[in-house]
Symmetry: C2
């Protein structure tokens, strides 16, 4: 979930000046419209890593709006008054009334995450899951009662956090801000990341989404946060919802603040020369083949998902993978339009039925991600349908990984230019012509919409146990080797568990 | 949750003959309408205690409808095929397609409940809660995908189950049906009841409700099950839902099959003579008073809820309770129409704010149950609002009891006749006249609607840790003593924890 918050996002001084001026006016207008309508309360949660700029961002927001109608709630240690009441009492006390904005600096997420991450040995996952379920019920109730809920998470990569702590410590004026606690937490960076990822994944709902903000650049994080808050306010003010617990708070597309995404950041010039390709191909196919004949594989199975731009070379990569494995133990499932029988079931049914037995590999050439890609972009399902799909898909993959299935997911990315070349080549070469249709050209026109959908998809469904691998596929050789190596490594790790 | 399935419901032979004939025709019609429309799949779960008549009821249903379009799925031990896939795979395999009815005899509930109840020592509650959360996400997804989900639970009281096992064992023809497993399970009756209650409470959703059926009388359970299934089918066929995950499958009113309810079963003639009343009052006030001065009470608190028919004597009972306690540590919260500030928050906010500190008692004279009583009956909130309130209220009370608050809830019940007498008396006596309004007379006209709402309320929100006590209140003396004694006993148990 944090990949797209480690891209090195920045905003220049000039751009910041321009956009912040616009935003301040717009936010004030929205705030007053909210206040006058008294239509709903706004609950803004601010969480994230130490040094991620939570405090500064909250200060910026309150100074940009009318602070009389914003309540900022810090939640440190509980008071004795609070300790004598049920856990949620302190938060109920702080709930903003309709027409107001309540910012929770720390929230009902703080202690579950800290307790799990700082546990002596490993986190008590079942206990954490129970808290998560309680939180989900609590937030659904708030949303059903009409609250607009936006949850911001300020993220720093390990490197960025280390740098941040060093900077603060180096300056005599800020040295006091680095506490023993910060250092203890930082020592557990990986644990915190693991726990937070899980909590965020399981509590990101269309009606109460997590918005992960890269916390390195002050200007960037302020602008992003303000824009998302403004979006959420406007969206609800303009379209009052009868069933707020079933409605997205805001369009989840990223890139409001910047055009830098996981896709634009790819180095598509990566390539492998022909000679080396042939050598590497043989090497990785051999290694992978060995793994699939390992006796431990008899208690495991593998699911590989291929998604990617049209003409990105999925078919070629799948064939190179298949060539390494005994055909009796591998199935390739090409996913096209659903059959009548499949249509008569929930959309995941057609994928569940193909899950492999132990010792088997199933490759999905396109997959359940169609729901959040083509179905979203083409409007084949409702907004609510594809938004709830992120959580449903995570549950589905959690079922798989929890059972010991190794799940590997690829997005094969090519540039728009390379796609054009390949389309033209397909049209020109007789035996390739079947590979190109009118639909491919139509999809190409929606390139940007698909890119947004891909970024959202990766952001919502790349998890520790079922991560996305983005493959730079302008060079087919490079792509194929990366695919083979990734599947090999994943299976190798899987067999060790 | 099981109180209203221990009422000794029966249906006579003649009535059964008449109603089953009607039902068979109607069910067949509904089944064919479903089949022709192919609009949605129907998922019927059948669970409950051994000997509760699950098998016979399923057989009756399938023989009444066209068995070609019903699939009955037994789920015993998993096959080796199934063991090699994720847990839910076997159920996905069995999902009925749109237009069909799938009956799950045993289901995704079976193993979580059995494992928790049969655990060597105490159940692993956190693990159970995790399963429950998974199940809720799974069923919500099915509902969002359009499935109609009805979950039947066949219940027997401990006594009835013992009798059932004895009967089966006594008859040479049925002796084989009582297995070692049945006896092991029966030996853990209380544990099973505790675990099932928790699971049912946490998984009963408006879109996937649990329907608890008393399993003693064959005719009764068949008619109830068939009527509820028919209701569900008709409801959805007539009003196709755009958001099935947010829609009740059927009107949850009980008493479709019979007019025997927890209210009709009360013995309202219970009374305490004046002399004994005065003696008992002093005794229980004294005992309760002592408890509230116990040093352990400094780490506990008490929340008492009074609901009841108009003129049932809530005020008098509250005063007798208050008289026993140091006024500094007790607050009485009369609940009338919400203030402007309260209206600007989620409906539970006005109750959360009054939760007591340790060593304190708060009495709510009417309460959050207004949502599922007056607001439901008078249409002050939407159907969806009051239906989701059961779960929200359970969560709220779970927060309280989890924190060590002793929660005691009373429904003071009087007969319609006694109410009339008291109304007339109030009108006649000058100093009582403020107690009777036009509204009271209007409510009285809706007596039956309120009775339905009360039965639903008790059925959905009476839990082990926060049970309802129904107080027979035709005799005020009897009612007051029962109230005092119940609060005393609850606090006594609470202090032992």
């Amino acid at each position: 979930m944090f990949e797209d918050a480690e891209l090195g996002q920045t905003i220049s001084k000039e751009e910041y000046a321009r956009r912040s001026t616009e935003l301040r006016g717009a936010l004030l207008d929205a705030q007053y419209a909210l206040k006058d309508s008294r239509a709903f309360p706004v609950i803004v949660l601010v969480g994230g890593v130490e040094g991620g700029g939570r405090g500064e961002t909250v200060n910026a927001l309150t100074s940009w709006m009318d602070p009389r109608h914003i309540e900022v709630n810090g939640t440190g240690e509980a008071s004795d008054e609070e300790l004598e009441r049920p856990r949620l009492w302190r938060y109920w006390r702080m709930l903003p009334s309709a027409g107001k904005i309540g910012i929770f600096f720390g929230s009902w997420y703080t202690w579950p995450i800290v307790n799990a991450a700082m546990a002596e040995r490993r986190p008590h996952w079942a206990r954490l899951d129970r808290r998560v379920a309680e939180i989900n019920r609590f937030e659904l109730m708030l949303a059903d009662e009409g609250a607009l809920i936006l949850k911001f998470w300020f993220h720093l990569s390990r490197k960025a956090q280390r740098r941040r702590i060093r900077e603060l410590r180096a300056d005599p004026l800020t040295r006091w801000r680095v506490t023993k606690k910060d250092e203890d937490y930082f020592a557990r960076y990986d644990r915190f990341r693991e726990v937070s990822e899980r909590v965020l994944r399981d509590t990101s709902q269309a009606y109460a989404p997590w918005i992960v903000v890269e916390g390195v650049d002050r200007r960037y994080r302020e602008i992003v946060t303000a824009e998302r808050l403004l979006d959420g306010l406007r969206h609800r003010l303009e379209k009052p919802s009868v069933q707020p617990g079933r409605t997205a708070t805001t369009d989840p597309s990223p890139g409001v603040a910047t055009k830098r995404t996981i896709l634009t950041q790819l180095d598509l010039t990566k390539e492998v020369p022909r000679k080396r390709y042939e050598r590497d191909l043989e090497k990785w196919q051999g290694k992978f083949s060995l793994l699939t004949r390992h006796k431990r594989f008899r208690n495991h199975s593998v699911v590989v998902v291929f998604e990617g731009n049209d003409a990105a070379g999925k078919g070629g990569a799948v064939r190179r993978l298949a060539a390494a494995v005994d055909a009796r133990f591998m199935r390739i499932i090409p996913v096209a339009a659903p059959t009548d029988e499949e249509k008569a079931h929930p959309y995941l049914w057609r994928f569940w039925r193909h899950l492999p037995r132990h010792g088997n590999i199933v490759v999905f050439d396109r997959s359940w991600y169609g729901r959040v890609l083509v179905e979203r972009v083409e409007g084949f399902c409702s907004e609510w349908d594809w938004q709830r799909a992120y959580g449903e898909i995570n549950d589905f993959e959690e079922e798989m990984t929890g059972h010991g299935i190794v799940v590997v997911k690829f997005w094969l990315a090519i540039s728009k230019k390379v796609q054009l070349e390949r389309f033209k080549e397909r049209e020109a070469v007789a035996f390739k012509r079947f590979k190109i249709t009118e639909e491919d050209w139509r999809n190409r026109e929606k390139w940007d919409l698909y890119s947004d959908a891909v970024c959202d998809m990766v952001s919502h469904t790349s998890t520790r146990r079922a991560p996305w691998t983005i493959v730079e596929a302008n060079d087919k050789y490079f792509a194929r080797i990366k695919v083979l190596k990734t599947v090999h490594d994943a299976l190798e790790r899987g067999l060790e568990r």
